[in-house]
């Protein structure tokens, strides 16, 4: 298969390329989605860890509160203490508290007690007992916000336990205000303890490394497995700032950080991402293959079969396909070929293949276009119908191939005669308004010449045509003189539709043959109505008017 043009890509190649490109896009989207999923998972994990720490810290504080409440209940079980509250007896109270403090401090390890302080019902400090570095004067409130809040309560609410964390002398403490007296309020017992051990127990509860630092950044607790630096193990840390519930504006009391090993999570994420990618790749490949085979079966193969069929019928070759496709940036072979085949078939359908002039079909179509649609006023033209005289002689004496030769030359001469610049005044904006020479069949030719409205102009064209025919035709060693009879009808004077114009031009031509005149313009009186009876009926009024 040799073609006169060079195809750049076949349709199949284009199909494979675009499907492959789509597949690549799908893979890229999957990859990007995987990254987003990874990020989201890590973010969710961090949020969950943060929530977990906050929850566990709150629960640890609640446990401390529970222990403090328990201690408070135990303390007020002593009738002497209740009596000291009722008096109130400061000295007795002080001794009782010291006693309670030691007793509880030694025996119980659940609550790292720092301070016990007794208050009256109206929050006057009675006595206190303490240990370690928490040594506030009796008059100095330990957690002012807690006492403030407790003082503002009314009615049964005053019986409720209140607890909070705060900073005292720069260290974090837990303070619980336990009401004393079951049904009749006798006073309060403030239980101040160290929250660190309970918070540090998060390490066991969560199975994670825990680090606790003070608000100033001083390290208060560090579990043994707390990561020293950025090691090889993937870690995720979450830090919860513990703030006083009753005075959040005071800033964090301390910060609890937990670290968890995320090596397994990372590994699982990578594994999942890979699995998703493999799945997407498989699905994409299958989809691309299915799409390719379907398109191949439904579009590509039938198209190629059609082209092959047309090529074997040699439609394309006879026409001589022009090399129009080579200049295109992206010429697809099959589409290009189809286009050329279409052009060839169209040429065959609308052109006379002996003279290469337009045939009757093209002539009628042209005339139809000129007489219908948006014509401008004054766009007049003439229809010339021409018939050869003495053509039969050529056929008879030299054979049909000689006749064909003469017809070809007649075509060329008439074409040359019409291609005269001063004859054709073509309006630039009207693509149809150009002269047209056609071979209607046999020895009959026709022409549409624009810009002609008077018989003088018709005469000029007719004389040119006749002059072109004057030189004899030299064929098979003989010289033949072939004559031409011309009939002319003018648009719109002699008719406004195609069939009327052709019929009247025909009538004029027969008149010319009868007269022996070489050419004639249609004339109602001389050509008579008998030749075109059917067409004359309708446009008579219009004829009169335009005449």
């Amino acid at each position: 298969m040799s073609h006169p043009y060079r195809p750049i890509l076949s349709l199949q190649a284009v199909l494979v390329l675009s499907l492959g490109f789509m597949g690549m896009l799908a893979l890229l989207v999957a990859l990007a989605t995987g990254r987003v999923y990874h990020g989201l998972t890590v973010q969710n994990m961090r949020d969950a860890l943060l929530n977990l720490v906050a929850l566990e810290a709150r629960e640890a504080l609640e446990r401390i509160g529970e222990h403090a409440f328990d201690l408070g209940l135990a303390v007020q079980a002593d009738p002497q203490l209740l009596a000291a509250y009722r008096e109130p007896d400061r000295a007795a109270m002080s001794g009782l508290l010291d006693q309670q403090f030691r007793q509880y401090f030694v025996t119980a390890e659940v609550l790292p007690l720092l301070l016990l302080r007794a208050y009256t019902v109206d929050f006057r400090p009675l006595a206190q007992s303490r240990v370690g570095d928490v040594r506030p004067p009796l008059t100095e409130p330990v957690c002012p916000a807690l006492l403030e809040q407790a003082r503002s309560r009314q009615g049964p609410a005053r019986f409720r336990l209140m607890a909070d964390v705060c900073r005292s002398n720069g260290r974090p403490v837990h303070a619980a205000l336990v009401p004393v007296g079951g049904l009749r309020l006798e006073g309060y017992l403030l239980v101040v303890s160290d929250p660190l051990p309970e918070l540090a127990s998060l390490a066991q509860d969560l199975g994670m490394a825990v680090n606790i630092v003070s608000a100033e950044g001083r390290e208060l607790f560090r579990s043994k497995d707390w990561p020293a630096g950025s090691g090889a193990v993937a870690r995720m840390t979450a830090t919860h700032a513990l703030r006083p519930a009753l005075a959040p504006g005071d800033g964090p009391v301390l910060r609890v950080a937990v670290a968890t090993d995320t090596t397994r999570l990372e590994a699982r994420l990578t594994e999942t991402g890979f699995a998703v990618l493999v799945a997407v790749a498989t699905v994409t490949v299958v989809a691309v293959l299915v799409a390719f085979f379907l398109l191949r079966k439904t579009a590509l193969l039938p198209l190629q079969a059609l082209i092959q069929r047309l090529e074997t019928e040699s439609v394309v070759r006879r026409r001589g396909v022009p090399a129009s496709g080579t200049g295109a940036l992206l010429a697809v072979r099959e589409v290009d070929m189809l286009h050329q085949i279409y052009e060839a078939v169209e040429h065959l359908a609308f052109n006379d293949h002996l003279t290469a002039l337009p045939n009757r079909m093209r002539f009628s179509e042209w005339l139809e276009r000129l007489t219908t649609g948006n014509r401008r006023q004054g766009d007049n033209f003439a229809v010339f119908v021409m018939d050869l005289d003495r053509f039969k002689v050529v056929n008879d004496s030299c054979g049909h191939s000689a006749g064909d030769e003469v017809l070809r030359e007649v075509g060329e001469r008439l074409r040359a005669a019409l291609r005269n610049d001063d004859l054709v005044a073509t309006p630039a904006d009207d693509q149809y308004f150009d002269h047209l020479l056609a071979r209607l069949g046999g020895d009959e030719f026709a022409a549409i010449v624009p810009g002609i409205g008077s018989s003088e102009e018709v005469a000029a064209v007719a004389r040119r045509l006749l002059a072109a025919m004057r030189p004899p035709f030299e064929i098979c060693g003989e010289s033949f003189s072939v004559g031409l009879s011309i009939g002319v009808a003018l648009f719109p004077v002699h008719g406004t539709n195609a069939s009327a114009l052709v019929c009247r031009a025909d009538a004029a031509m027969y008149q010319a043959k009868l007269d022996g005149a070489r050419w004639r313009i249609f004339d109602q009186d001389s050509t008579g109505q008998a030749l075109c009876p059917a067409i004359l009926q309708a446009p008579t009024a219009e004829l009169e008017r335009s005449a």
Partner: protein, 147 residues
């Protein structure tokens, strides 16, 4: 014996009713209200105690239950020992305010005792329906480490 055949839909309802009775038997729940008594909650108990310093509080639980703690000043009188005589021994008069409680809404003892008290003619019977569990949940003080 076609008259013995029960439609399939009936079996469904039968099973449902039987299962429902089983479930109800498994859970004891105190009534919402007992006529002749006033229901109070934990805060109501404190208000009542403030209003009536001589309020008699009767713990209707078994004595063993008092080990986990009890309301200050309460008298232990289990519902099984409650009758007009035993009530008269702890309550000065029929017009004296008296409060009954037990563990909570799944404990029927205080309800039983309160009903007996109403039947015996006590006119100011208060019933702490939610009981000791609610008291503890509210973090209110009680007697635990009695010596």
């Amino acid at each position: 014996m076609s008259w013995l055949r029960i439609p399939a839909g009936m079996w469904f309802w039968l099973v449902l009713v039987l299962a429902g009775q089983q479930a109800a038997a498994a859970e004891v729940r105190a009534p919402d209200h007992i006529s002749g008594t006033t229901v109070v909650d934990a805060a109501g108990v404190l208000d009542l105690a403030a209003e009536h310093p001589d309020l008699v509080i009767i713990d209707a639980r078994m004595r063993l239950d008092r080990r986990q703690g009890y309301l200050q000043g309460s008298v232990s009188l289990p519902d099984v020992d409650t009758d007009c005589d035993s009530l008269a021994s702890v309550i000065p008069s029929l017009s004296h305010p008296v409060l009954f409680y037990c563990n909570g809404i799944h404990c029927g003892r205080s309800a039983v005792s309160a009903r007996i008290a109403v039947e015996c003619g006590y006119r100011r019977v208060y019933w702490f329906r939610e009981g000791f569990e609610a008291w503890q949940a509210a973090r209110l003080p009680y007697v635990k480490y009695a010596r």
